[in-house]
Symmetry: C2
Subunit: 401 residues, 2 copies
C-alpha cells in the first residue's frame, strides 16, 4: 500500500492524541460513524474523508493560510491530500475551503493531479466547514458523484504525514465503539458536532507521531526537512554500458555507499532502452547521478532527462540529477573543458520548468589510485550535499571535486 | 542586552507553559525561591540556573542524547548555555550531566568558551539531577566558587531559545507569589521537588514560544532552520576603495537589497584598516560578500578572512564568505581565469578549520546594462542560497552567475 516515497526512520511518539497540543488535535483521530455499521476487522465498504481547510493561519505569522504554505514549492495541503489518496479504500475526499481560496484549491488539484477530491465552501467556523463537508456526503442527489459513505474521517488539512495504519484504526474503532463520556469531557470539537448534528457515535483512538500538526513556522521548517530526508533515501548511479564507464561508475557507486550510510545506492545502465531504469523511476527514486566518463558532452544525461520528463516522477517532488564528468586534471586542465560543460546552465534552466534540479560535477581522475579515491570521496560529499539541500538557486552550476 | 544574533520574526505562541506538551514543560518556567526574598520589580542580587542534562534522549530516535545532538556542528546544549550566559544577572549556571558525559561537557564548555558554568553529577532521575545542582549551590564551603543564590531557575538543557524577558518574569514571580495548589494540581515535577527538599515557594508563570522543547528529531530540524534564519538576517558587502570597485560593488549591494527583502544589506570598505568593518564583525554579522572586481586574485578576500579569523565571531556560528569576481565573459572566457581562481579550494579548506565557509562566485560583467542587471540578479540568488543553506559540502566551489 506504500505508494509514497520510502518513509524515513522517525522516532515513536508515545501516547494518544490528547497528549498533543490542543483540543483540535483530537479531531485528527475522531471519526464519525453513521448508524449503519460495518463488520469488525474489515474496513468498511465506503469510507470518505472531510478536510476542513478554511483556516487563515493567524498563528503561523505569515500572510498565507498555513494549508497553502509551500514546502519544496508545493502547498502543504497537497501533501495531506497525497497521504489520503494513497489509501485505496478512501473513496471520496471532501475539502472545505473559503470562497476566496476556491480557485487556488482547484489549481492545486489540477497541477498535482489529485484524484477523488470534491470541494465545498468552508463555513465561518471549523464546525461549519466540517458540517458542510458531511452535508455534501449525506445528500442523496442523482447528480451527486459522491457515494454515501458508511464512515467519514475528519482530518486536518495541516497534518500531512498521516499514514494508512492510523486511518484504518480510526475506521475500525468507528465500528467497534460507541461514544464515551471520556471524549466529551475533553470537549473534542468535532465529536460534539457529530453528536449534535449527525446522530452518530464517536470515539477517540490513539494517534501516532505522523499526526503532528503544522501550526507554527517552525513546524513548516520541520516538515520540509522531513520531506527532504524521505526523498533522499535512494540514489541511482546511471552509466552507459562501455567497460571503462562502468568501471569508474562502479567506483563512484562504491564510494557513495561507504560515504552515505542509510542511503540506498543502486546503479543502472542507460542501454537497452533503460528498461530497468524505467522501473527505478516507477519505484520513485528521486536522485540520479549520471556518469559521462571521458566525454564532456551530455549525451547520457540528456537521455536520462528525457526519461524523467516523460515520467510523472517530478510532479510531486523535485528530482535531483547530477551530471558527473571525469577528467585527469594533470593531462587536461578543467578550464579546457569548461566552455563545453557550461552548456549545462541552459539545460538546467529548461528542466527546472519540469521540477528537475540539474547540477554538473567535474571529478578529477588522476592515475594515482589513492588520489582517485580521494577525489571520488570529495565528489560523493558534493553529491550528498546537493541531494540533501535540493537548492534550486544552484542549478546549472558546475562543481569540481 | 541582546548579545546574540538578531532574533527573526517568529509567530507568537499564546498561553502559559502548561499548554505545552507534557508535565516536564512546566519546569522551564517553574522557579525555586529560597526563604530570603527580594524587592519586587528589581531582579534579585544573586540568581543561579540549574540545567538537568542527564537525559539519554530515547524519544529522539538517535543514539546521541538530544542535549548533545549537533546543530550546525555545535551541540544543542551549547545554544542553551549561550542563551543563559547572555543574561548578565545570572551569576552561576550549574549543569548536571552523567559521569560518562562529564568529559564531553567539559570539552564543549572549553571549545565554545562558555562562562560561569559549574558541572555536577546527574542523578538517576531528573529530580535527583536538579537536587544535586541545588545542593552544589546551597553548600557553604569556603572552597566553593559558587555564590549562594537568592533565586534558582531550573531550565531544561533542551530549550535553546529561552530569552531574558521570560527568565526575568520567572525571577520576579519567585518573589511575588507563594506556592499555589494550582501548580501542585498539575503535578509539576520540580515544583514538588522544591517543596519537598528545599523548603521553598514556587509558582507557575507564563512562557513564550521560545520555550519550546527539543524532543523529537523534527524539533532538531526546526531548531537548525530557526538558527540558520537568525544568522542570515544581515549581509555585509565588502569592497576596497577604488572607484570602479565601489561602483560595481554598490550595484551588487542594490540588487541584493531588492532580491532579499527582510535581509539587512550593508557595505563597508576594507581600506583604512577596516575600522568600520571591525564594528560590523563585533555587531555579529555572519555573512560577507567580498568584491574583487577586475582582479582574479584574492587580496581583498584574504584581508577579510584574516580579520574574521582574528575575531571571535566564528566560535559560535559558521560565517559565510562569498568571494565575488567580475569578468566580461565576452572579452575574457571564464576558463582563462579558472586556474587562478581554483586556488579558492585551498583557502576554503584552511578557513573551514576556523568555522568559516568560503565560496567563490564569478559574475559575468557585460557592457550591456540590462545583461549586467540580469547577471547581478543571478549572482544575488546564488549568494542568497549559499547563506541560507550554509552547506559545508560545497565550500571552495567556484560558482558562476
Amino acid at each position: 500500500m506504500e505508494a509514497g516515497p520510502p518513509g524515513s526512520a522517525r522516532p515513536a511518539e508515545p501516547g494518544p492524541c490528547l497528549s498533543g497540543q490542543r483540543g483540535a488535535d483530537h479531531t485528527a483521530s475522531a471519526s464519525l460513524q453513521s448508524v449503519a455499521g460495518t463488520e469488525p476487522g474489515r474496513h468498511p465498504q465506503a469510507v470518505a474523508a472531510v478536510l476542513p481547510a478554511g483556516g487563515c493561519g493567524e498563528r503561523m505569522g505569515v500572510p498565507t493560510p498555513k494549508q497553502f504554505c509551500p514546502i519544496l514549492e508545493r502547498p502543504l495541503i497537497s501533501y495531506t491530500l497525497q497521504a489520503l489518496e494513497r489509501v485505496c479504500w478512501i473513496k471520496d475526499i471532501v475539502v472545505a475551503v473559503t470562497g476566496e481560496n476556491m480557485e487556488v484549491m482547484k489549481s492545486i488539484i489540477q497541477k498535482y493531479q489529485h484524484k477523488r477530491i470534491s470541494l465545498v465552501e468552508a463555513g465561518v467556523t471549523r464546525h461549519r466547514s466540517i458540517f458542510n463537508g458531511l452535508k455534501a456526503l449525506a445528500e442523496d442527489q442523482i447528480n451527486s458523484k459522491l457515494s454515501k459513505p458508511e464512515v467519514v474521517i475528519i482530518h486536518d488539512a495541516v497534518r500531512p504525514f498521516v499514514e494508512e495504519g492510523v486511518l484504518l484504526k480510526v475506521v475500525t474503532a468507528a465500528k467497534e465503539h460507541g461514544c464515551s463520556d471520556y471524549d466529551l469531557e475533553f470537549g473534542t470539537e468535532c465529536l460534539q458536532l457529530a453528536l449534535k448534528y449527525c446522530c452518530t457515535k464517536a470515539k477517540l483512538v490513539e494517534g501516532s507521531t505522523d499526526l503532528w500538526k503544522v501550526t507554527y513556522k517552525r513546524d513548516l521548517y520541520a516538515a520540509e526537512s522531513i520531506i527532504k530526508e524521505r526523498i533522499s533515501q535512494e540514489i541511482c548511479v546511471v552509466m552507459d554500458t562501455e567497460e571503462d564507464n562502468k568501471h569508474v561508475g562502479h567506483l563512484l557507486e562504491e564510494v557513495l555507499k561507504s560515504e552515505l550510510n542509510h542511503v540506498k545506492v543502486t546503479s543502472e545502465a542507460l542501454g537497452h532502452a533503460g528498461r530497468h531504469l524505467q522501473q527505478i523511476i516507477l519505484d520513485q527514486c528521486y536522485n540520479f547521478v549520471c556518469v559521462n566518463v571521458t566525454t564532456s558532452d551530455f549525451q547520457e544525461t540528456q537521455k536520462l532527462l528525457s526519461m524523467l520528463e516523460e515520467s510523472n516522477l517530478c510532479i510531486l517532488y523535485p528530482v535531483v540529477v547530477v551530471s558527473v564528468h571525469f577528467l585527469d586534471f594533470k593531462l587536461v586542465p578543467p578550464s579546457q573543458k569548461m566552455e563545453n560543460l557550461m552548456q549545462i546552465r541552459e539545460f538546467a534552466k529548461e528542466v527546472k520548468e519540469r521540477n528537475i534540479l540539474l547540477y554538473g560535477l567535474l571529478i578529477s581522475y588522476p592515475q594515482d589510485d589513492q588520489k582517485l579515491q580521494e577525489s571520488l570521496r570529495q565528489g560523493a560529499i558534493i553529491i550528498a550535499s546537493l541531494i540533501k539541500e535540493r537548492n534550486s538557486g544552484l542549478i546549472g552550476q558546475l562543481l569540481i571535486a
